[in-house]
């Protein structure tokens, strides 16, 4: 039985919808964003609810063949709630394996600041750092401000032949190096988040695709 969760699609759709400008003031915008994100997640079959009982948790996500759901604390403000949704999606994306393979069960707990488990491994702290960057990109509505392989796992299949294959090889190499830097360097994360950088990446990719017909 497959798990009912499509983190790639969810993250992309949420980011796309958040990228659209909202009418009204800042408060109305936060309210609207919260509604848009919840609505989008529900549309993708991820049940969302708020619970007043949560104390040390801001929220959590569970996905299995029985369904996918996000529960957030009722005490959170709209911005915090948005942050929790984005962070949970970021973790679902990061914990999805290569080529989009996944198990039947995924869960993630989001703790209130200062209530996290005391002993966290280095790998967990790094995962958290990358998830922060990815969540910020989702909330900005600019997933292209992160390396492609951070949010898209499936390999592309294109034209046959040596030249297109070589082109795809170069692109894959660049995306992988970018992903590796993204995992290890907060400086690179900030650089990659800039609009100019996204534009540059798009231009280079376009040039490679044209040159190698891939």
């Amino acid at each position: 039985m497959a798990m009912i969760l499509e983190p790639e699609r969810a993250a992309q759709l949420v980011a796309d919808r958040l990228a659209r400008p909202a009418a009204g003031g800042a408060g109305a915008e936060a309210l609207k964003k919260d509604w848009i994100v919840r609505r989008t997640l529900e549309e993708l079959g991820i049940h969302c609810e708020a619970d007043a009982g949560l104390q040390d948790l801001k929220g959590f996500m569970i996905a299995s063949p029985r369904g996918a759901e996000i529960v957030v604390s009722e005490r959170l403000g709209q911005d915090e709630r948005l942050g929790v949704y984005a962070h949970l999606l970021a973790h679902a994306l990061l914990e999805q394996g290569e080529e989009g393979e996944e198990g039947s069960f995924f869960s993630r707990l989001e703790y209130v600041e200062g209530r996290e488990p005391a002993e966290r491994k280095g790998s967990e702290r790094k995962l958290e750092m990358v998830a922060d960057a990815l969540a910020a990109a989702i909330l900005r509505g600019r997933l292209d401000g992160t390396p492609r392989y951070a949010y898209r796992h499936k390999r592309e299949v294109g034209a046959a032949g040596l030249r297109p294959r070589l082109g795809r090889f170069w692109l894959e190499l660049c995306h992988r190096v970018s992903l590796m830097l993204f995992w290890h360097s907060p400086k690179y994360q900030r650089l990659r988040a800039r609009r100019e950088m996204s534009y540059l990446v798009r231009r280079v990719e376009h040039l490679v695709r044209t040159a190698y017909a891939c």
Partner: protein, 143 residues
């Protein structure tokens, strides 16, 4: 008309010792990263889940002495409280109960990891999370 379901009683009689030893294995925790749960704690945790199983019942179940069959919900509740879904004893237990959980070992290990995180949470968070976890294993709303 018979007062008892003879087939069920006979079936339980045939498997209860094996079920008992599996339950004990789950509680003692022989899997990777597993830890032992005391009978008193397990009894309290099962009570929190909505299942009345006293400490002495736990002891008698483990010895295969109780005549009353343990329901599927309680078996799974037991494993949840011991964070032992990935233990071989849990698979054997479900086989004995005639229930197939279509999850891989990795999934069950992930579930156990969640259960260990869940244990470290304060009670109000545990209550919210536990309702959801039981649903994801059995598709049952706890009482």
């Amino acid at each position: 008309m018979a007062d008892r379901d003879e087939v069920q009683v006979a079936r339980w009689g045939a498997i209860r010792e094996r079920v008992g030893s599996c339950l004990r294995e789950l509680r003692i925790g022989e899997g990777v990263g597993a830890s032992a749960t005391s009978q008193a704690r397990l009894s309290g945790d099962l009570e929190d889940l909505g299942y009345h199983v006293t400490q002495s019942m736990i002891s008698r179940y483990e010895q295969g002495q109780l005549e009353q069959p343990l329901t599927l919900e309680r078996l799974v509740g037991w494993a949840l409280c011991c964070a032992s879904l990935s233990a071989p004893a849990f698979r054997e237990l479900l086989e004995l109960a005639g229930y197939l959980l279509p999850w891989s070992l990795d999934d069950l290990a992930r579930f156990d990891r969640t259960l260990r995180q869940y244990r470290a949470l304060p009670l109000p968070d545990q209550i919210v999370l536990r309702r959801k976890l039981l649903w994801h294993v059995l598709g049952l709303e706890p009482r």
